[in-house]
Symmetry: C2
Subunit: 121 residues, 2 copies
Protein backbone atom coordinates (compact mmCIF):
# COMPACT_ATOMS: atom_id res chain seq x y z
CA UNK A 1 0.00 0.00 0.00
CA UNK A 2 2.92 2.37 0.52
CA UNK A 3 3.45 2.50 -3.21
CA UNK A 4 0.16 4.15 -4.02
CA UNK A 5 -2.19 6.93 -3.04
CA UNK A 6 -4.78 6.03 -0.40
CA UNK A 7 -8.02 7.89 -1.09
CA UNK A 8 -9.93 8.50 2.14
CA UNK A 9 -13.37 8.90 0.55
CA UNK A 10 -12.97 5.69 -1.45
CA UNK A 11 -11.93 3.79 1.65
CA UNK A 12 -14.81 5.23 3.70
CA UNK A 13 -17.25 4.01 1.06
CA UNK A 14 -16.13 0.45 1.83
CA UNK A 15 -17.23 0.67 5.47
CA UNK A 16 -20.80 -0.24 6.32
CA UNK A 17 -20.59 -0.82 10.07
CA UNK A 18 -20.42 1.60 12.96
CA UNK A 19 -17.65 1.47 15.58
CA UNK A 20 -15.61 -0.91 13.42
CA UNK A 21 -12.27 0.76 12.56
CA UNK A 22 -10.50 -0.40 9.39
CA UNK A 23 -6.78 0.06 8.78
CA UNK A 24 -5.81 1.99 5.66
CA UNK A 25 -2.09 2.60 6.24
CA UNK A 26 0.79 1.95 8.62
CA UNK A 27 3.77 4.15 9.49
CA UNK A 28 6.33 2.36 11.65
CA UNK A 29 4.15 0.88 14.43
CA UNK A 30 1.40 3.45 13.96
CA UNK A 31 -1.86 2.57 12.22
CA UNK A 32 -4.19 4.91 10.36
CA UNK A 33 -7.77 3.69 10.69
CA UNK A 34 -11.06 4.94 9.31
CA UNK A 35 -14.33 4.46 11.12
CA UNK A 36 -17.97 5.43 10.95
CA UNK A 37 -19.27 6.39 14.37
CA UNK A 38 -22.88 6.85 15.41
CA UNK A 39 -24.37 7.12 18.88
CA UNK A 40 -22.60 6.76 22.20
CA UNK A 41 -19.48 4.66 22.63
CA UNK A 42 -18.39 3.23 25.99
CA UNK A 43 -16.32 5.08 28.56
CA UNK A 44 -12.79 3.71 28.38
CA UNK A 45 -9.13 4.62 28.49
CA UNK A 46 -5.82 3.54 26.95
CA UNK A 47 -3.15 3.40 29.63
CA UNK A 48 -0.18 2.95 27.30
CA UNK A 49 -0.79 5.38 24.48
CA UNK A 50 -2.25 8.66 23.34
CA UNK A 51 -4.96 8.39 20.68
CA UNK A 52 -5.65 10.77 17.80
CA UNK A 53 -9.06 11.56 16.30
CA UNK A 54 -9.36 13.53 13.04
CA UNK A 55 -12.93 14.18 11.89
CA UNK A 56 -13.42 13.82 8.13
CA UNK A 57 -17.22 14.15 7.93
CA UNK A 58 -19.86 15.08 10.48
CA UNK A 59 -19.29 16.02 14.09
CA UNK A 60 -17.78 14.13 16.99
CA UNK A 61 -18.00 14.94 20.68
CA UNK A 62 -15.39 13.46 22.97
CA UNK A 63 -16.54 13.50 26.55
CA UNK A 64 -14.05 13.58 29.40
CA UNK A 65 -14.78 13.40 33.11
CA UNK A 66 -14.51 17.16 33.51
CA UNK A 67 -14.93 18.64 30.03
CA UNK A 68 -16.03 18.01 26.47
CA UNK A 69 -14.30 18.53 23.12
CA UNK A 70 -16.52 19.16 20.10
CA UNK A 71 -14.88 18.31 16.77
CA UNK A 72 -16.13 19.40 13.36
CA UNK A 73 -14.91 18.06 10.03
CA UNK A 74 -11.33 19.25 9.57
CA UNK A 75 -10.59 19.24 13.28
CA UNK A 76 -8.52 16.85 15.37
CA UNK A 77 -7.52 16.21 18.95
CA UNK A 78 -5.18 13.91 20.81
CA UNK A 79 -6.58 12.10 23.84
CA UNK A 80 -3.76 11.71 26.37
CA UNK A 81 -2.93 8.22 27.61
CA UNK A 82 -4.70 7.07 30.72
CA UNK A 83 -7.55 9.53 30.27
CA UNK A 84 -11.12 8.23 30.53
CA UNK A 85 -13.11 9.39 27.51
CA UNK A 86 -16.25 8.60 25.56
CA UNK A 87 -16.76 9.40 21.87
CA UNK A 88 -20.31 10.39 20.98
CA UNK A 89 -21.69 11.13 17.51
CA UNK A 90 -25.23 12.49 17.50
CA UNK A 91 -25.42 11.79 13.76
CA UNK A 92 -22.97 9.66 11.81
CA UNK A 93 -19.40 10.91 11.85
CA UNK A 94 -16.53 9.65 9.70
CA UNK A 95 -13.20 9.81 11.47
CA UNK A 96 -9.57 8.89 11.11
CA UNK A 97 -8.13 7.29 14.23
CA UNK A 98 -4.36 7.24 14.55
CA UNK A 99 -2.77 5.08 17.21
CA UNK A 100 -0.21 2.30 17.65
CA UNK A 101 -0.88 -1.13 16.17
CA UNK A 102 -2.67 -3.39 18.66
CA UNK A 103 -4.71 -0.81 20.54
CA UNK A 104 -8.18 -2.17 21.37
CA UNK A 105 -10.94 0.31 20.63
CA UNK A 106 -12.71 -0.17 23.95
CA UNK A 107 -9.49 -0.03 25.96
CA UNK A 108 -9.81 -1.67 29.37
CA UNK A 109 -13.61 -1.52 29.27
CA UNK A 110 -14.29 -4.30 26.77
CA UNK A 111 -17.88 -5.15 25.94
CA UNK A 112 -19.94 -5.71 22.83
CA UNK A 113 -18.53 -2.71 20.95
CA UNK A 114 -15.02 -4.18 21.05
CA UNK A 115 -13.84 -4.43 17.45
CA UNK A 116 -11.48 -6.88 15.82
CA UNK A 117 -8.08 -5.35 15.09
CA UNK A 118 -6.03 -5.28 11.87
CA UNK A 119 -8.97 -5.32 9.47
CA UNK A 120 -7.50 -3.69 6.39
CA UNK A 121 -9.49 -2.13 3.58
CA UNK B 1 -3.31 21.51 23.14
CA UNK B 2 -4.68 18.06 23.81
CA UNK B 3 -7.58 19.61 25.64
CA UNK B 4 -9.04 21.33 22.63
CA UNK B 5 -9.98 20.90 19.00
CA UNK B 6 -7.21 21.70 16.52
CA UNK B 7 -8.73 23.23 13.38
CA UNK B 8 -6.56 22.44 10.36
CA UNK B 9 -7.76 25.36 8.21
CA UNK B 10 -7.17 27.85 11.02
CA UNK B 11 -3.66 26.51 11.56
CA UNK B 12 -2.87 26.56 7.83
CA UNK B 13 -3.86 30.23 7.72
CA UNK B 14 -1.02 30.96 10.15
CA UNK B 15 1.64 29.61 7.77
CA UNK B 16 3.13 32.02 5.24
CA UNK B 17 6.31 30.18 4.21
CA UNK B 18 6.86 27.24 1.90
CA UNK B 19 8.68 24.07 2.99
CA UNK B 20 8.48 25.13 6.63
CA UNK B 21 6.50 22.52 8.59
CA UNK B 22 4.77 23.65 11.79
CA UNK B 23 3.74 21.27 14.55
CA UNK B 24 0.05 21.28 15.50
CA UNK B 25 -0.19 18.17 17.70
CA UNK B 26 1.79 15.33 19.25
CA UNK B 27 0.75 11.75 19.96
CA UNK B 28 3.38 9.83 21.96
CA UNK B 29 6.60 10.56 20.01
CA UNK B 30 4.73 11.29 16.77
CA UNK B 31 4.27 14.83 15.50
CA UNK B 32 1.50 16.14 13.27
CA UNK B 33 2.82 18.98 11.12
CA UNK B 34 1.21 21.23 8.56
CA UNK B 35 3.14 22.69 5.64
CA UNK B 36 2.63 24.69 2.48
CA UNK B 37 4.64 23.21 -0.36
CA UNK B 38 5.38 24.80 -3.73
CA UNK B 39 7.90 23.79 -6.36
CA UNK B 40 10.49 21.03 -6.17
CA UNK B 41 11.96 19.85 -2.90
CA UNK B 42 15.33 18.09 -2.67
CA UNK B 43 15.87 14.37 -3.13
CA UNK B 44 16.39 12.86 0.31
CA UNK B 45 15.58 9.90 2.51
CA UNK B 46 14.91 9.10 6.16
CA UNK B 47 16.79 5.97 7.16
CA UNK B 48 15.15 5.48 10.54
CA UNK B 49 11.48 6.09 9.91
CA UNK B 50 8.56 5.95 7.52
CA UNK B 51 6.95 9.31 6.72
CA UNK B 52 3.27 10.06 6.09
CA UNK B 53 1.90 12.68 3.73
CA UNK B 54 -1.81 13.60 3.75
CA UNK B 55 -2.83 16.22 1.20
CA UNK B 56 -5.36 18.76 2.52
CA UNK B 57 -5.46 21.20 -0.41
CA UNK B 58 -3.99 21.09 -3.90
CA UNK B 59 -1.94 18.29 -5.41
CA UNK B 60 1.36 16.75 -4.42
CA UNK B 61 3.60 14.51 -6.50
CA UNK B 62 6.09 12.33 -4.68
CA UNK B 63 8.83 11.16 -6.99
CA UNK B 64 10.71 7.96 -6.31
CA UNK B 65 13.66 6.57 -8.24
CA UNK B 66 11.45 4.20 -10.21
CA UNK B 67 7.90 5.53 -9.93
CA UNK B 68 5.76 8.49 -8.98
CA UNK B 69 2.78 8.86 -6.62
CA UNK B 70 0.27 11.61 -7.41
CA UNK B 71 -1.77 12.75 -4.42
CA UNK B 72 -4.95 14.82 -4.57
CA UNK B 73 -6.64 16.49 -1.62
CA UNK B 74 -8.04 13.74 0.61
CA UNK B 75 -5.32 11.27 -0.32
CA UNK B 76 -2.35 10.05 1.68
CA UNK B 77 0.68 7.82 1.34
CA UNK B 78 3.43 6.49 3.56
CA UNK B 79 6.99 6.75 2.27
CA UNK B 80 8.92 3.73 3.58
CA UNK B 81 12.09 4.36 5.56
CA UNK B 82 15.32 4.46 3.59
CA UNK B 83 13.55 5.30 0.35
CA UNK B 84 14.87 8.22 -1.71
CA UNK B 85 12.01 10.54 -2.61
CA UNK B 86 11.31 14.07 -3.75
CA UNK B 87 8.05 15.96 -3.09
CA UNK B 88 7.01 18.26 -5.92
CA UNK B 89 4.03 20.64 -5.97
CA UNK B 90 3.40 22.28 -9.32
CA UNK B 91 1.08 24.75 -7.57
CA UNK B 92 0.84 25.30 -3.85
CA UNK B 93 -0.21 22.25 -1.86
CA UNK B 94 -1.20 22.17 1.80
CA UNK B 95 -0.23 18.93 3.50
CA UNK B 96 -0.17 17.22 6.84
CA UNK B 97 3.11 15.43 7.52
CA UNK B 98 3.09 12.80 10.23
CA UNK B 99 6.39 11.45 11.51
CA UNK B 100 8.37 10.99 14.72
CA UNK B 101 9.60 14.03 16.63
CA UNK B 102 13.08 15.08 15.52
CA UNK B 103 12.92 14.05 11.86
CA UNK B 104 14.70 16.63 9.69
CA UNK B 105 12.70 17.57 6.60
CA UNK B 106 15.65 17.20 4.21
CA UNK B 107 16.81 13.91 5.72
CA UNK B 108 20.46 13.20 5.03
CA UNK B 109 20.59 15.67 2.15
CA UNK B 110 20.58 18.92 4.12
CA UNK B 111 20.82 22.19 2.21
CA UNK B 112 19.02 25.50 2.23
CA UNK B 113 15.53 24.00 2.43
CA UNK B 114 16.32 22.38 5.78
CA UNK B 115 13.70 23.66 8.23
CA UNK B 116 13.94 24.27 11.94
CA UNK B 117 12.12 21.61 13.96
CA UNK B 118 9.52 21.93 16.73
CA UNK B 119 7.98 25.16 15.51
CA UNK B 120 4.47 24.99 16.96
CA UNK B 121 1.52 26.98 15.78
Amino acid sequence: MSDSAVNLAEKLALIDEHWSPRVIAEMNDIQFKLARLAGEFVWHQHDDTDETFLVLEGQLRIEFRDHVIELEAGEMTVVPRGTPHRPVAEAEACVMIIEPRGVVNTGEAGGELTAENDRWI
